[in-house]
Symmetry: C3
Subunit: 498 residues, 3 copies
């Protein structure tokens, strides 16, 4: 047996079996089995599993610990279908050698300097943050860190999450060379509320800690996408930070009161929002995340249409949307259909990941997808038409000056638990009319607004005014200027309706 | 080692270990392990697992694919407790040989021509469909296809599902010769709604696709039992058919509007309903499925009482019921008790399968069962008596001509989430009176009817009339002529109550 | 190889590998694998796994059955990291030898005669029952019986459960010498209702029976903690007893009507409640269970503060509380904060076990814990202040004679699904005032009471009076004299409010 030098993990192949090589690498993880001790090594090009053995179940090389930087001589072997190393010798690196290696590993985690899909000032301004996000995510992938994406369960939230998912999964597969790894190291979890609910935080945290205990896993990286309510997210992140989890927040909603941005930036590892660089919510999460996905994985596929889809769903109307629409190679009409089908399906899918089902819904391949959307759309159209009949009958309209006030009782015109959702009901009701108008949808503990051509109206301002006037009503909410929600405790309903 | 011919999979036993035989068979499945390649073979008498090996993790015989028909020489070996084959040679069959084998396999899947439990014109007319259903189900079992039964969570739905379950499970056990196979290849899932809810469809679909990806399974066969609302089921089946799943529908509810039968027959692989052959809902799913179970498995045991139980629960009163009652060897009184205990228990079991618990509830063995039912009945009786006290106090009766109109507010006379259900409350209320009467139970978004001796009244007609008069109320529902439900959006409640 | 005698399971170590010893022991369990037959042996000092082998998958020593008492010669071997025996010979013991062994095993299961943490007449009177409970629980641990703790999801219920958990888990770990055993043989399940809900009973039962079938487990021991409603628990236990499960009930609520104690004592294997020995609810479950934990495991750690915590949460004010407070080494102020943080967190954790998260919340180690509580408390304080603002605005006060009647509509002053709970809202409302007062919180189907300085008022009496006056309102409830709940069917609300 000959000893070689200057081999890299990424270069090892079947012809190396039986040979010994020396590597400089980081110990990413150590696991004790009932047989040998398993060391997960990272030399800045790839991960490699290596075994150390003294006696069955006994910890080999007890002076070598997680996060150490070492030089190790490995005998390359094949175990089942995979190549791995058997540790012949191992010793810690000097400080100098360690620093060199850290640089090399950091280099590997660096994102690709790909060009953005479109040219826009927004992206230029967001670029430093996007590069940082890509580096954090790449590090997680290459260092065996589980990733959890928590995203709003609407079309924009899904589009953003899917873009990143399509960048991440191929890298996880490649890094671990195992089919199940994409289920072990990546999870996507839709949130029905437009924020990270505290009960979700505790459920996720509970699961993560129990799994960590049982299977000796690393702390995860958590990515929040399109979860607008910054105040509630701050509560959530505070709880996660009691366990030192890394958290990236990607959003395009108005962060509201001054100081909110500073607060969340201080808490989270990264906060990306067009509002931070002087733009507004029309640059949606589907757009931000698609560009980010390309920085994470230069070979990411099948995501170019997501910005236009998300923009269509969230009524983007700026230049950026037009450019993405062109890239998508779809018509606006088809994207409208696509978006409402996503709303419809994901409304019933609720909090489930259903990875394969969602992969089909978001166009696993283009050929069958149009057919799928058209079939689903048949049902959606019918549901919406039915609701329209009910809305037409029960909507109340009043004209004050030249503004139409349109009122609909959302919970009473659709069956409980059925599509369309209250906010869709308001949109249906709103679209029955034209011109200057304010639509309000009434629920037990909230009011949904949608406004057209009434310049002086601003949902966020209304929310803030009422908050000050009636602190006892525990008012919350907001959204965009012309569309948003006002939440309160039920007892205050009458008073607020006035 | 000698080579034999004319051996069949079903004949192989321990004495064959070490011998080689040649078989003609179909490749039902291929799985790549980290060691050999696994081929699941079917020679029309049984399944056999066979291994092919080139090198660890490499696909053996890459030109042989799923669904191919082959001639293969196997060396019989024992692995752990099970016999399997090691592939010595394998080659595809000619077209002629293939056709012969297809016939042979089809023969194995053919149901047994058992006589029905009772003589009735209904069964004679349903016979061709029942034979077809039995064949599809047998094929699924013998060809490694997972089976999912989705059934209404009432006594009739359960009875039908249990009858088929008791035919299927022993065949799966025998076919796979493994204890866990009955959990891997068969699932039963109760539906609280009387239709396949869209959210259930998507959850089931999501799970099936993810499991399929992870464990490389076949598409399932789905059997819907006693899920009356044909329109909603059509939506469900349409979604399943986007993935080409096989679907059998067994029901005894009035299919409603003309054209519904044609629609569902075109979509589903099979639709069995006494209404299709000119009969009515008194021939319940428990009866249909018990007869079907006997065609699936000639040795099926412990199901003869299910038709009478289901008939008792669903108020069957025709000749067929009398015959099944006799076969059941139970008194009507005991079956009443049995049925209400099933209602009570399954109300709290909700959507869970709880296979072992249900097996006991539906009489795993006769000796302990009466005792179990009597103990449960004590509690049921008390609950019903309590509700009766409340109903007596709060029921409102009005006499118009010679008909009593009996009104009860269902949601207000029982505690939320507690037995009895609204429809049971209406029955309790209805049973307090005698003679010509119409009982209505009022809920937030529906009205439940129960009628006696009022010839001109028909729930289905009422539903249809109101639908036409008030399309904006999004009216749904129906049921049987003298008992059924009218569903609407809450805003329309006042208007409809008039 | 030499044969030794007089070795005990608890004494076996690595140096015994390769030796043969003879043991007298009980067969606790037998499992057939695809290889050897596994026998779980118990010699009264520890469990030992032993293998018997005839041929692969064939049952070895078929005349030896579960629960037999045997003499067996074992060859000590190491399999993976664990020592086990290979059965050389095995034969049943004579009656005499069996009896001696039974005594020895019973001895091992006997609790430790530790002194109680505090001196009080209550504990002296409860001692015989506590010793019995400790013995039943120790037997379960040492005989491979899974344990399920079902406890009220409030601070007292949690405190009691955690005390016992901290006694049980180290013994399970030691007994099984395996990391996963503490997940396989112990489960804790919080109940949001203050009783064992029937749907929970059936879900637990369904899971237990399915797992038992799949993995051949023993029937579990079920421990109910702080689940006050004795009538509902009786229904639950009756159902469990149809399967002969062992059930221990630990509670401190008023058992209500005469005869209830007899009924539950007849059903359950043990019923422990200070009321049984003439005391009241101020000796809370956290106190009872902490003392019990010390009898189960003399080395139990980190539980001394639990009685004071639970007492603080449940407003204990007797001598016993003062003593426990001193032992806790905490200030009353900190415990108030701790308790409300537990309420807050567990409100959102709901029915989930989240063992690791709860371990941190209940002070895994003292150093980080105060910090954790302080951080959580920041959020709790804010929530409570917000609710206070709403309560101040919407509370209605009326003075009749010298008593203030304070009314608040609980469901309307806090957002659905958000902390604080209705009973916390009533407390907030109650604490706004001073002096003689009766607070009532109104919900859809219940009224919550909290009373100060009104001697003649007793919630339990009120409930009983109304029950008799209005049997049709299906009134339930009760609690403590000055704080409790009155439940009824919604239709009776108006009448009862009068």
């Amino acid at each position: 047996m000959i000893k070689f030098k200057n081999k890299l993990f990424s270069m090892i192949n079947e012809s190396d079996i039986g040979n010994k090589y020396t590597f400089k690498c980081k110990i990413e993880d150590i696991k004790q089995t009932s047989g040998p001790t398993i060391f997960i090594l990272n030399d800045g090009t790839s991960l490699l599993k290596a075994t150390g053995f003294i006696s069955a179940g006994e910890r080999a090389f007890p002076d070598i610990n997680k996060k150490d930087f070492v030089e190790t001589e490995l005998l390359i072997k094949k175990r089942k279908t995979k190549l791995e190393g058997e540790i012949v010798t191992i010793k810690k690196l000097t400080k100098n050698e360690t620093n060199t290696l850290i640089k090399k590993i950091k280099q590997k985690n660096k994102p690709f300097q790909t060009e953005f899909l479109i040219e826009t000032e927004i992206l230029n301004k967001l670029k430093p943050e996007l590069l940082k996000a890509a580096e954090i995510i790449r590090s997680a992938i290459f260092e065996n860190t589980p990733i959890l994406i928590k995203h709003h369960a609407d079309c924009d939230g899904y589009s953003g999450a899917i873009a990143i998912e399509r960048a991440i999964i191929p890298l996880i597969r490649k890094n671990h060379n195992s089919q199940k790894s994409e289920f072990n190291f990546y999870t996507r979890s839709p949130s029905m509320a437009p924020f990270y609910e505290y009960s979700d935080v505790l459920r996720d945290l509970g699961n993560i800690l129990d799994v960590k205990k049982k299977f000796d896993k690393k702390n995860p990286l958590i990515i929040l996408i399109d979860l607008g309510n910054i105040k509630k997210n701050i509560l959530a992140i505070k709880r996660l930070k009691m366990y030192d989890f890394k958290v990236i927040v990607i959003d395009h909603h108005d962060p509201g009161e001054k100081g909110n941005i500073e607060k969340i930036k201080k808490l989270a590892d990264l906060y990306i929002n067009p509002f931070c660089v002087g733009f507004d919510s029309s640059f949606v999460c589907g757009m931000i995340c698609t560009e980010l996905a390309r920085l994470i994985n230069e070979n990411v596929k099948n995501i170019e249409f997501l910005p236009a889809l998300a923009g269509t769903a969230d009524k983007s109307d700026k230049d950026e949307f037009t450019k993405y629409l062109k890239i998508s190679e779809y018509s606006k009409e088809f994207l409208e259909k696509f978006a409402i089908c996503v709303d419809f399906e994901t409304y019933y899918i609720k909090y489930q990941e259903s990875r394969e089902l969602i992969e089909d819904l978001f166009r696993r391949n283009k050929i069958n997808h149009e057919n799928l959307i058209n079939k689903i759309y048949e049902q959606v159209k019918q549901k919406i038409q039915e609701t329209q009949t009910a809305v037409e009958k029960y909507v109340e309209v009043q004209k004050i000056d030249d503004i139409k006030f349109i009122k609909i009782d959302c919970e009473k015109v659709s069956s409980y638990g059925e599509f369309p959702t209250p906010s869709k009901v308001v949109r249906i009701s709103h679209d029955l009319f034209k011109g200057k108008r304010i639509s309000i949808g009434i629920l037990q503990d909230s009011i949904i607004f949608r406004v057209n051509e009434v310049e002086k109206f601003d949902v966020n301002e209304l929310v803030n005014d009422l908050k000050k006037q009636k602190p006892y009503a525990l008012i919350e909410g907001g959204g965009h200027k012309f569309a948003g929600t006002l939440k309160f405790i039920p007892v205050a309903k009458k008073e607020i309706l006035k």
